[in-house]
């Protein structure tokens, strides 16, 4: 790294910082219950609910901090928070 004048940063460069390690509980989808409403994707504060080609979603465990908002807000209880096994 070389410091640029004034400390200018490149966009979206926090992607190098894998915050998945912060997690205590991990969200796990039950695709049988999921209705693809996209609420989990919308509400995720860590942008770690990623759409799949089939319309379902998956968790980006590199970044998910395990806050549980997705599970709490899921209208179909399709997301379960499971204790991380370290």
């Amino acid at each position: 790294m070389k410091i640029l004048p004034g400390g200018v940063c490149e966009p979206r460069s926090t992607m190098v910082n894998k915050t998945g390690g912060w997690r205590t509980y991990r969200p796990v989808f039950d695709y049988n219950k999921c209705i693809k409403c996209k609420l989990c994707e919308l509400l995720c504060p860590d942008m770690s609910v990623l759409p799949r080609d089939d319309g379902f979603f998956e968790i980006d465990y590199d970044f998910c901090k395990g806050c549980g908002i997705c599970a709490n807000e899921c209208p179909k209880d399709a997301i379960e928070m499971v204790l991380e096994e370290k």
């Binding site: 940063c9 460069s13 190098v16 919308l42 504060p45 770690s48 590199d62 908002i69």
Partner: protein
């Protein structure tokens, strides 16, 4: 839509600021420039040399974001880029309601074409939950703690949207993280309105308010459902739209979820205080006609 706020930021799990910034950028799109004052959002998204921002973004100081934004807007105008690129501020309640109010007042009086989004989590969270002008009545913070002879913050929340309305802003709205689509629509409306516009977003903070990280949206929703946080839109000084509540919930439902109000349920006389808070909610109902 590509997320214009990237993962890897250092916000707490369940962070309201990250959600607010994400929704704001969903409304604004790529062709904008964002100014942020000092605060949680700034610190957690830009630890040098990293940045979470996918749009051009600048931080200068705590109290000058609106002035910086007015300079950005003026520069775009002078250099012929103003028509398409939108200038936004995303700042916290301390930076907006307290220390930055002079520069906001100036920028709004001058009529710059900017949209200011206040992410109001009702205290100085970046420095450890100190009281701000946005802290509600009876909330316990580290500088307005509840104690043997105090129920916490003894002043009502400063009515910042009304102050902005008094500046002649053509569009002022209140929004909540619990209603992201409504919030995105309002921010888009603000951006599309020429002149200085303002959206004040109620943003529960898991750390500062003391609730589980999974409850950010739930607490936000309860604030609306109890009428603690009225949602409305004001165009050119007139209320044009109000978010109606089907059935007003008692404020206890909202208060009991949060550590900052815990003393109201344990201290003698707390029930009287809760009545006062209920009165605040009921006044909101009356003032804005919140009940269907």
């Amino acid at each position: 839509m590509r997320n214009l706020l990237a993962s890897g930021h250092r916000g707490c799990a369940g962070c309201c600021n990250a959600m607010a910034a994400k929704f704001t950028l969903m409304a604004a799109g790529e062709d904008c420039i964002v100014v942020s004052p000092t605060g949680c959002l700034e610190v957690m998204t830009t630890p040098y040399p990293e940045s979470s921002w996918g749009v051009p973004w600048i931080h200068s100081l705590f109290e000058n974001a609106a002035a910086v934004a007015s300079g950005v807007e003026a520069a775009l105008k002078a250099m012929g880029k103003a028509e398409k690129t939108k200038v936004l501020v995303i700042g916290g309640d301390g930076a907006t309601i307290d220390i930055g109010i002079r520069s906001i007042s100036g920028a709004f009086e001058r009529g710059h074409d900017i949209t200011y989004v206040c992410v109001d989590n009702e205290a100085y969270m970046n420095t450890g939950v100190q009281r701000s002008g946005g802290t509600p009545f009876d909330a316990s913070t580290t500088t307005s703690p509840a104690g043997k002879v105090s129920f916490g913050n003894q002043r009502p929340k400063k009515n910042m949207p009304a102050i902005i309305v008094a500046h002649g802003s053509p569009y002022v709205a209140t929004a909540s993280l619990a209603y992201p689509k409504d919030m995105i629509r309002k921010i888009r409306a603000a951006i599309d309105t020429k002149g200085p516009t303002y959206v004040h977003v109620h943003s529960p903070c898991t750390t500062g308010w003391g609730f589980d990280t999974s409850k950010t949206v739930e607490v936000a929703r309860l604030a609306v459902e109890t009428a603690m946080w009225p949602m409305y839109e004001i165009e050119n000084g007139r209320v044009i739209k109000v978010h109606k509540i089907k059935e007003q919930k008692p404020v206890e439902d909202y208060l009991k979820m949060q550590r900052r109000f815990k003393h109201l349920f344990t201290m003698e006389g707390g029930d009287e205080e809760i009545k006062k808070i209920q009165h605040i909610a009921d006044t909101n109902v009356e003032e804005f006609g919140l009940i269907k």
